[in-house]
């Protein structure tokens, strides 16, 4: 099922997406994060590599497959296609889930720092 706009997404639908996507893998989280600006597959890899100081170098198959899953869930949407290059951007639903993930990770971080 595709949930494009958050306005059209009911609480039940958001709950379904939450079950399907949260907790998010590191790969997916970074790809979703990178799509807060419009990007294409290869651009996503470059951006993620850059912000992780070269630690996370995503492969072509991984990027392609993850984009497919995110689009199917309605967390991202295609903007344009130029020379067979598809550009994507995060949707409102995607942004909402990203904020929820951010809160969850901050909580982990806080708890860890209190212990260590």
């Amino acid at each position: 099922m595709i949930y494009h706009a958050m306005r059209g997404a009911s609480k039940v639908q958001i709950e379904k997406l939450r079950n399907a996507f949260i907790p998010m893998s590191e790969t997916m989280l970074y790809i979703l994060m990178s799509l807060t600006s419009e990007r294409h597959g290869y651009g996503i890899m470059l951006y993620v590599k850059d912000i992780t100081n070269g630690r996370l170098s995503l492969g072509a198959g991984t990027v392609y497959q993850t984009l497919g899953k995110l689009e199917k869930g309605g967390l991202i949407k295609q903007t344009t296609e130029i020379d067979r290059k598809k550009y994507y951007i995060i949707t409102d639903v995607g942004r909402q889930l990203l904020i929820e993930e951010s809160k969850r990770i901050s909580e982990i971080n806080r708890n860890l720092e209190a212990i260590l």
């Binding site: 790969t27 997916m28 492969g59 072509a60 198959g61 991984t62 598809k86």
Partner: protein, 175 residues
């Protein structure tokens, strides 16, 4: 050089990739990739190079599938039925197309799924010929009966082979 039944000898995708990589280190490259490659594959000799091969099963790829791979530096070798064969030359770090466990597992599952179709047909075929055997065995003459038993045995061996391959690919998930 011609290799027969390459997918039968290297049914696990990562093994198939490693096999092609080994051949390229000796300077052997597949001449043409096509749907008959699982039966006959022709290789030609040239300079030895270090190539990382990747096999990716995509029944209905999106319009940007090929472009994404090419952007990342992969060279398209061809398609063996629905499986896209990619390669990239490298010197030090071996390039990967699937860089996390989840997408690697999905890649492998696509192969298991495609095998499961042949598996179901195989089981139906086997039940049918086993039933026929028990119903009509007494009417068969001697040479025909022997042939029938051989076919039956081969069919059972093939079933066991198929299921072991599916299990192996599943187990190879963590690689």
């Amino acid at each position: 050089m011609i290799k027969f039944l390459s997918t039968l000898f290297h049914p696990i995708p990562s093994d198939y990739e490693a096999w092609l990589e080994k051949l390229s280190l000796k300077g052997w490259y597949p001449k043409k990739i096509n749907q008959w490659n699982s039966l006959v594959m022709e290789f030609e000799k040239s300079e030895p190079k270090k190539y990382r091969y990747v096999l990716d099963l995509q029944a209905a790829p999106e319009s940007d599938y090929i472009k994404i791979y090419k952007d990342f530096g992969w060279e398209f070798c061809g398609k063996i039925t629905n499986a896209f064969l990619w390669r990239m030359e490298y010197s030090e770090q071996r390039p990967e197309s699937f860089t996390d466990e989840e997408t690697m597992r999905e890649r492998n599952n696509r192969f298991v799924k495609s095998l499961s179709f042949s598996f179901i047909f195989q089981i139906i075929f086997e039940i049918a010929i086993t039933l026929l055997f028990f119903l009509y065995a007494r009417f068969f003459e001697m040479p025909a009966l022997t042939v029938y038993i051989i076919v039956l045995a081969l069919s059972y061996i093939y079933t066991i082979y198929l299921s072991s391959i599916m299990l192996k690919i599943k187990k190879g998930d963590k690689k």
